[in-house]
């Protein structure tokens, strides 16, 4: 019977992880990790990997980014010494089995999200639920923010939304408390950032794209969305187009154009494509 390796320092069951211990266990070198790995049976490690995969999938349901601290506390526990290996394998499983990419959207605070790497189905009649409607609202906001220079005052955003019959002071029949949805839920999910503008009294806030939005979509994609809605060519907005193209080029062509609706030039077959 393989013996369970004791974790270093106070165990995670104490409820708080002294940051020092957490980092110590996690910043071990590759060779140390390999040595730790040898002390464990493959079955044990596989078990942890599977647990982590399930944990990530379930945590992702609400689209709230997953913290590394939570992963360590709830799943990894005593296996911290092989954390890097477990997360690597879990990422691989997610890619190969589910077509999902585990991405760290905040390297400082170690926060992860899951993003799809499969091409979108160009099929109608896909399931629609509340999330779909909320995404519609979010996309409108993201479009507005990008087209107006990547940031906009809260008042400007609401002004636009009011034209669409979405008013922060009025309970919406689809979205309910819209203000809460936009300023809290979307922010918690990291789709939007909601920051205070300095030197304003009474305090005013502005919106920007959040880290999740930056990963799940791109400026070019949103520009295409706007172009589709307004039935124009994306190049009609030259500044924005230039900016979007620059972002694409900087991203190096990874995961580009997974879905290019209405794009006649080269259908994506699920393989990665370089930018034009």
């Amino acid at each position: 019977m393989a013996q369970k390796r004791r974790g270093k320092g106070p165990g995670p069951s104490q409820g708080e992880d002294p940051a020092g211990d957490e980092d110590y266990a996690l910043t071990q070198s590759a060779s140390q990790v390999r040595r730790n790995l040898e002390r464990l049976s493959p079955a044990q490690v596989d078990q942890k990997v599977s647990e982590l995969v399930q944990y990530l999938l379930v945590k992702d349901q609400k689209k709230i980014p997953i913290k590394r601290a939570d992963i360590l506390k709830n799943v990894i526990k005593d296996y911290r010494g092989v954390y890097s290996e477990i997360i690597k394998r879990a990422g691989r499983t997610l890619q190969q089995v589910f077509g999902l990419q585990l991405m760290e959207i905040d390297p400082k605070h170690h926060i992860y999200i899951l993003v799809s790497i499969l091409p979108r189905l160009e099929v109608d009649n896909l399931k629609q639920d509340d999330c779909t409607a909320k995404l519609g609202l979010l996309t409108v906001i993201l479009s507005f923010l990008f087209m107006k220079g990547n940031a906009a005052k809260e008042s400007a955003v609401w002004e636009t939304l009011r034209r669409l019959r979405v008013d922060p002071g009025v309970r919406h029949e689809v979205f309910g408390d819209v203000k809460k949805l936009v300023t809290e839920e979307f922010v918690r999910q990291k789709y939007l950032e909601y920051n205070r503008i300095p030197h304003t009294d009474p305090p005013e806030f502005e919106f920007q794209w959040g880290a999740r939005a930056a990963k799940e979509t791109s400026k070019m994609q949103i520009l295409r969305f706007v172009a589709k809605i307004q039935n124009k060519d994306p190049k009609a907005w030259s500044t924005q187009y230039t900016e979007a193209a620059a972002e694409e080029a900087a991203a190096g062509g990874l995961f580009q154009d997974i879905s290019t609706p209405g794009d006649t030039g080269g259908a994506s077959q699920g393989a990665r494509r370089r930018t034009r």
Partner: protein, 389 residues
């Protein structure tokens, strides 16, 4: 917050910013358009070093050196070192800052030059600054102006390719399936909200289109729920079968239930009545001799039934249908009470004593031996129940 202090330099007209050295005492070039001013300040800067040194020797703070300023007054714009003037200066600065904050929108408007005007005014004020306190206010204004400048520049940027958000909103509504009512004059200048009927699935439709531009991971849910899949399936089948045969079964069940309920609820009462009946029957035979308590309740074959019997007899005693006394040998005897003067009065008038009888298994055995009890006087209830059902 001051990180933007130096960023908007190009868009701010006529003011070169040097965020590194904002020292009122040094000769920084603040405004290239006013060279005379600069020269004066240069001279003033050099001249000022003397009183500073004097003040330092005195060991006081800068505020205290006002008395030593008069000597240098001729070369500086600031008159002799007076609190009043400095207070005035601070007041003016604060006014300026307030004005800029209140008129934010105006400052930001690309059509107005008010931000530039404010900057020039601050520049003028600055010429009177010689102490850190006023300089701090000047710095505060500078941060404010820089932030505004940055915002203004941003707005310039997006205006280069104009994004018409009202038109975007209109197109969105069209996409979502807005059913514009005919015959209604739509003054889009007056109303910012279009008239018309927006269908219920409007946002879902928009969201479905938007999904195509995202790489969202689908929400993961276990198909069969979070628990093991097996139990729910059989349960459903059973339910269906039950429902079909339900109507017939229901008729049969209440009858049985009733009987069971009766036996549960009234079992005790029935038992008590039965025992009372037995007691009275026995007593009819021998009306004058009270029955020994133990003879009556003890069941030589079952300790449990003995205890039950005592339990039931206690009800009889409580209700006053029988009495327990001690006879000459100090042994308990039981006899039914004959008085019919109204049992209720009896219960109130009679002194009610309470006693706790403890009977262990060993006691019970001893009693059976001593009293040579061979048969229970209270027949076990099982026999009679079979007759009932």
């Amino acid at each position: 917050m001051s990180e933007d202090a130096g960023s908007g330099s190009n868009s701010l007209q006529g003011r070169g910013l040097d965020s590194g050295c904002r020292q009122p005492f040094a000769s920084t070039s603040r405004n290239g358009a006013v060279p005379e001013h600069q020269q004066r300040r240069l001279a003033g800067g050099q001249g000022r070093q003397r009183p500073l040194e004097a003040a330092n020797e005195g060991g006081d703070g800068e505020e205290e050196e006002s008395e030593e300023e008069p000597g240098q007054g001729s070369e500086r714009a600031e008159p002799d070192g007076n609190h009043t003037d400095r207070r005035m200066l601070r007041h003016q600065y604060r006014q300026l800052i307030n004005r800029v904050q209140q008129n934010r929108e105006d400052m930001l408007s690309s059509k107005s030059n008010s931000l530039t005007d404010a900057l020039q005014e601050a520049n003028k004020l600055f010429s009177g600054v010689s102490q850190a306190r006023e300089a701090a206010l000047d710095a505060q204004f500078l941060v404010l102006a820089s932030n505004l400048g940055k915002e203004k520049a941003n707005e310039l940027h997006s205006e280069m390719t104009v994004f018409d958000s009202p038109a975007f909103a209109e197109d969105l509504l069209t996409f979502m399936g807005l059913n514009r009512l005919e015959g209604e004059e739509n003054d889009s200048d007056d109303e910012s909200i279009a008239s018309g009927f927006l269908p219920n699935n409007a946002w879902h439709k928009l969201g479905a289109e938007a999904e195509r531009y995202f790489r969202r991971s689908p929400s993961f849910h276990y198909m069969l729920g979070s628990f093991k899949a097996d139990p729910p399936v059989p349960r459903q089948r059973i339910e269906r079968q039950k429902r079909k045969a339900g109507t017939e079964e229901k008729r049969a069940m209440p009858a049985q239930l009733k009987k069971m309920e009766e036996s549960h609820q009234e079992a005790t009462e029935k038992e008590v009545e039965r025992i009372l009946g037995l007691l009275q029957t026995y007593f009819k035979d021998d009306p004058n001799i009270p029955i020994s308590f133990f003879d009556f309740v003890i069941d030589p074959s079952s300790f449990a039934r003995t205890v039950e019997n005592i339990f039931h007899v206690s009800f009889i005693i409580r209700d006053g249908f029988a009495r327990i006394k001690l006879d000459q040998d100090k042994l308990p005897v039981i006899e039914p009470s004959h008085e019919e003067e109204g049992r209720e009065n009896d219960q109130n008038a009679q002194v009610r004593n309470q006693a706790v009888i403890s009977l262990s298994h060993q006691d019970w055995k001893d009693i059976v031996e001593t009293f040579e009890i061979t048969e229970p006087m209270i027949p076990p209830p099982g026999i009679s129940q079979e007759n009932e059902s």
